[in-house]
């Protein structure tokens, strides 16, 4: 039996109300400038990688280069950065034995805030504060890994002394999404399957202790110097 005219009127009223509420909620979500996400499905263009080979520490003349592929939301990477990296930095990098290259390898499928964190670090790099931001991101990982990441990163931006307005503009632009994806694709092409992973002397190594890394660096230096 067809609905009475009043029934149709009620139906159109309900449909209209749902449409207004739905459009309103979507519009509100789209207009929330305070929320930022860094898309993974970006098309990498040459400008994303031009002249950028990662975040580098150490001398250009160091005999060994170590490239670390890492994800800021990965607990193993945080553990490496907090426990092992200080030794690596003072005893291998600062002594001129190693040039360190840090590359983004965000495992977005299991770490939803990884790309946002990598982007926050890239924005800090714009103001010359990559490494302080990098350290804070790892040290604070338990505070943001389960939520509130964007707010926490903004707090770190203030702590490391960034111009927060410039940081906000950089984050809102998402301008490093392509570069992060390019780094990820580079790692994938090399065979990086997890994090942290290190490319040393043309080979990939999974999470290493300081002693293992030192031993390997010494061996590579010995081979290079013909000892």
């Amino acid at each position: 039996m067809a609905a009475a005219p009043s029934g149709m009127k009620n139906f159109y009223t309900v449909i209209g109300a749902v449409a207004v509420v739905g459009l309103g909620l979507l519009g509100w979500q789209l207009s929330r400038r305070s929320t930022i996400s860094i898309p993974a499905n970006v098309v990498v263009v040459p400008a994303d990688t031009a002249g950028f080979r990662g975040y580098i520490l150490g001398s250009d003349s160091a005999p060994v280069e170590i490239t670390m592929y890492a994800d800021y939301q990965c607990p193993g990477c945080a553990n490496f950065d907090i426990v092992t990296f200080p030794d690596v930095r003072t005893r291998l990098i600062q002594t001129g034995l190693v040039r360190w290259r840090y590359r983004d390898f965000p495992l977005s499928s299991i770490h939803p805030y990884a790309r946002l964190a990598q982007h926050a670090a890239a924005c800090a790099n714009d103001q010359g504060k990559f490494w302080p931001m990098h350290t804070l991101l790892y040290e604070g990982q338990p505070d943001w890994a389960s939520g509130g990441a964007q707010k926490q990163f903004r707090k770190y931006a203030g702590i490391v002394g960034l111009d927060v307005d410039k940081y906000d503009a950089c984050m809102a632009s998402g301008k490093y999404a392509g570069r992060i994806e390019a780094s990820y694709q580079e790692g994938e092409a090399l065979g990086v399957g997890g994090t942290p992973m290190f490319l040393i002397g043309g080979r990939l190594y999974e999470g290493m202790s300081y002693d293992q890394m030192k031993h390997l660096v010494d061996s590579l230096i010995a081979v290079k110097s013909g000892k």
Binding site: M1, A2, A3, G7, M8, F11, V14, I15, V18, A19, G22, L23, L25, L26, Q29, L30, R32, S34, T35, I36, S37, I38, P39, A40, N41, S108, S109, I110, P112, Y113, A149, Q150, G174, A177
Partner: protein
């Protein structure tokens, strides 16, 4: 007729829900409103694409199709006609099977539950139930 109307309202709600998920996926919406669920883990997993297409986009198009069909079905001239109910039941039935597949992935493969996806599964199931109830009007009839 009331079941077709219910299907239309539900399809519109499902359309907005799927659109929200799709806008998030293409980076137009920041962090998801998810409460205690694991929406981002699910939405950013490799299972969020099906045959190379974003699952949320499939949802947007699917709900849009159901909405148009249900709105057509509510025209008084089609009230006594069976085909709109049959097509609503067939399409929403496919949707229910797809939702079951996605829910199984969440539970057994991704090990995370997105409450928006649960909401969508509920909506498509209700559309199917409404369509099936509407089809009952035509039992024994050949219209």
């Amino acid at each position: 007729m009331k079941y077709r109307m219910a299907a239309a309202v539900l399809a519109l709600a499902g359309f907005f829900l799927a659109a929200y998920l799709y806008l998030y996926k293409i980076g137009r919406i920041g962090s998801m409103m998810c409460g205690t669920g694991s929406c981002e883990a699910v939405q950013l997993s490799r299972w969020s694409r099906f045959l190379g297409v974003e699952v949320s986009l499939i949802g947007v198009l699917g709900y849009l199709g159901l909405l148009v069909l249900a709105l057509v079905a509510t025209r008084p001239a089609l009230d006594a006609v069976r085909w709109p109910s049959r097509w609503l039941a067939v399409l929403s039935g496919i949707g229910v099977l797809f939702a079951l597949y996605l829910t199984a992935l969440e539970l057994f493969v991704i090990h995370a539950i997105c409450r928006w996806c649960v909401g969508s599964a509920l909506i498509i199931t209700l559309i199917f139930i409404a369509s099936a109830l509407d089809l009952r009007r035509f039992r024994g009839a050949r219209v």
